[in-house]
Amino acid sequence: MKAAIIVFPGTNRERDMAIALKRVTGQAPRMIWHHETDLGDTDLVVLPGGFSYGDYLRCGAMAAHSPIMGAIKAFAQKGGHVLGVCNGFQILTETGLLPGALLRNANLRFLSQDCYLKVEAENTPFTHKWKKGDVFRTPLAHGDGNYTADIATLERLEGEGLVAFRYADAKGNVQADDAASNPNGSVNSIAGILSENKRICGMMPHPEDLVDPLMGGEDGLPLFQGLVEAVVR
């Protein structure tokens, strides 16, 4: 799998993402500066975490207008695989590649902690290493991760199985009004969603930061392993 990571001014988790991808592909992903207009030859485009443009105005708003976004939209239109994590997810919603928006965390504080995710959609390129209902641990680190969407969009996401991950407790119980298991207050505890063709995934937590036992575990690894298989197939 050839992967490309997009770097915006203020992106800061591109190296974490590169480590995770290298771990499953054996090869360092390409870094693409946001001023480029061509993605080159790639199977996967990743928008990593960070504070593009300082998160000023709204997270992801300015990055969504970067020159490279045209190429990413075209890539997505042709059925390319795109993963947006944290700031990357925010950028994907700002460009309209994914529906909804990410508001300030409900408690108005930056949150940096481990959370548990329950896998909701199986057999997608991003989740097929898990079974529906599986629970895994992953760090999260964001100030604006409170997912929201209008009712019609929510119904569509839920109805078409486009919710990829939900925040849960360690046992997999989902309870949207419980700050302990749904720390940022997301509607329906939504932590990650998919595009209609299930080739674009946006999520707030950072599976790329839990791919090594030395750092506390490998719970995030299946996402990347799964991508390799899905994309190569």
Partner: protein, 734 residues
Amino acid sequence: MNKPVTVDESLAREFGLTSEEYGRVLSIMGRTPSLTELGVFSVMWSEHCSYKSSRKWLRTLPTKAPWVIHGPGENAGVVDIGQGYAAIFKMESHNHPSFIEPYQGAATGVGGILRDVFTMGARPIANLNALRFGSPENPVTRRVIDGVVRGIGGYGNCVGVPTVGGEINFHPAYDGNPLVNAMTVGLARKDRIFLSAAAGVGNPVVYVGSRTGRDGIHGATMSSAEFDEDALSKRPTVQVGDPFIEKLLIEACLELMATDAIVAIQDMGAAGLTSSSVEMAGKGGVGIELDLDAVPQREPNMTAYEMMLSESQERMLMVLRPDRTDVARKIFEKWELDFAIIGHLTDTGHIVVKHKGQLEADIPLDPLAEQAPIYDRPATPPKAPAPLEGVHAPLSLDATLLKLVGSPDLASRAWVWNQYDSTVGGQTVRRPGAADAAIVKVEDTDIGLAITTDCTPRYCQADPKTGGAQAVAEAWRNLTATGARPLAVTDNLNFANPEKPEIMGQFVAAVEGMGEACSALDFPVVSGNVSLYNETRNPDGSTTAILPTPAIGALGVLDDVNKAVGLGMQPESEVVLIGETKGELGQTIWLREILGQEAGAPPPVDLAAEKRNGDFVRSAILDGTITACHDIADGGIMVAAAEMVMASGIGCELESPDSGIRPEAFWFGEDQARYLACVADGKALCERAQAAGVPARIIARSGGNDLILPSGVTISAARLKTAHEAFFPTLMGN
């Protein structure tokens, strides 16, 4: 400042110079200085930049070891960590700004210390912060905590440097003067270190980063003055940080540093353009000429005086090879940062400043530095504390323990560190709370860096010398408890008004204690910062001084990071108490929280025992015998055991000590040089300890999920955690 002002002694005094110092300015200049010149002298000779009260004593600290590459004198200290890498680190205070505007004060403190580290060529890989707040009951404290924690997170999270550790104490002495000490650790190739001494007459002087505004003018002199109610009217000096620009600046500087364009580089910290240009030229023994018309400006009509003294953030000054300025310009343009050639080096030995065709300043650099005032201020040696006598326990052990683990100084800091991104970078091996020191891996190697900050101000207040030594010893112990080999120290010496002999006496004694400990432990000081005048003038004219707070930041190395241990209790283990217990209750948390007294002498520090015990523990960690380790500090043995239980959820049963010491003294005394260690075979470890001359005994066996006291009383890990975790959320309201 567009009205002409008369430069005279009274203006000099307003700028913080004494009459005698102003006399010295006159004799150096041979004429009345211009306003800009007076400004330059006043900031360069401020306590903050000149270390005039502390220099004499700082010189007594040990600064050398075979692994020290650069000690004090550079922007940050540099040590060799093996495999061609160097760690670059320093700690710095932003105390006064953080009281006036907690968010921006703390944020710009983080920004400033980051620049001190990346200016030397290092990628910042970890931040820590040592914080001291007023009484939790004081309503102002909440506002300060909220702003400081948001500010540190807001800046550090955005620049993408993980905040991995720190410490927090509460005491009413900090009510009007909280302490915010920020530390950064960076990583560089050891043959790619950048220094600040300028060289090459004719070489261009280049300004990069944010534009200059009227921010923080006279910040350096303000941080050198005692705080009074007027402080609030000095507010316009508040600087606002832009972490986004800082992030770009880090990337752009590192990209430029990979070329051969840079001759010298220096961040613009306190006293901005003045101190950076004076220091670069002064260190290089050259002259410098600046043309302020070329300085990127944010506001119209700025004067030379304002530009020279502005403390606008996120700016750097560099001397470049003339044939490489285009390479450099391209890099900064790519990162969308201002880049301007604002002058050149000369052979005059003067700093010459021109603006709008006028000569605004012309000062000889040598006298500016060499005749900078140094004071040997009168110091009254601190009185020895009266010994503690006749205290006894009013509460049962279990009630005492639950109260202690929930007390402000011991309660869980998770509320704080959960607002700091501790994993960005993907190299954080031990996050906050997981071990006695944070551990960050050096990417693509097996090297681990262990990092901690420590100081126990209540010990320093009672006995500054012991307190100074204890702070160093505790830092060394915290590194050791992870398996790391302690390498070096940075410090932040926070004290009150040095013009008062008893405060100067505290300072001298604390530095003496630090120095002794650093020597005995082979643990040199490689960088640091001094923050004086930390006191508040009360409405009735009296002053409140902070507790003497020589914060120690320390760094150690693990050649194989896989061997690091954490502090979480391990299953099916015996827990060995290492080090001697006499039951020292003076100045303990127990005494303060349970009996409401701050009394007695702090626990004595025996540096030989410290070294012996620590070296033993480290060797047993590195050979895999010890599987978890926690140093025994505030709260004593029982609190340490409870912390191990809470960290992993695995319980243990404590044995009755049979020591002849009263139970509260045995369990809550704060004797130094001690550790709790999990091992499979406690007896074997004790035998090995005995052979090494190290006191050791089995104190507990792990298992279940409860902490079981010798009395048989059982406290579940969950119940401990509830007591432990309530303090911050309750105080802060969420």
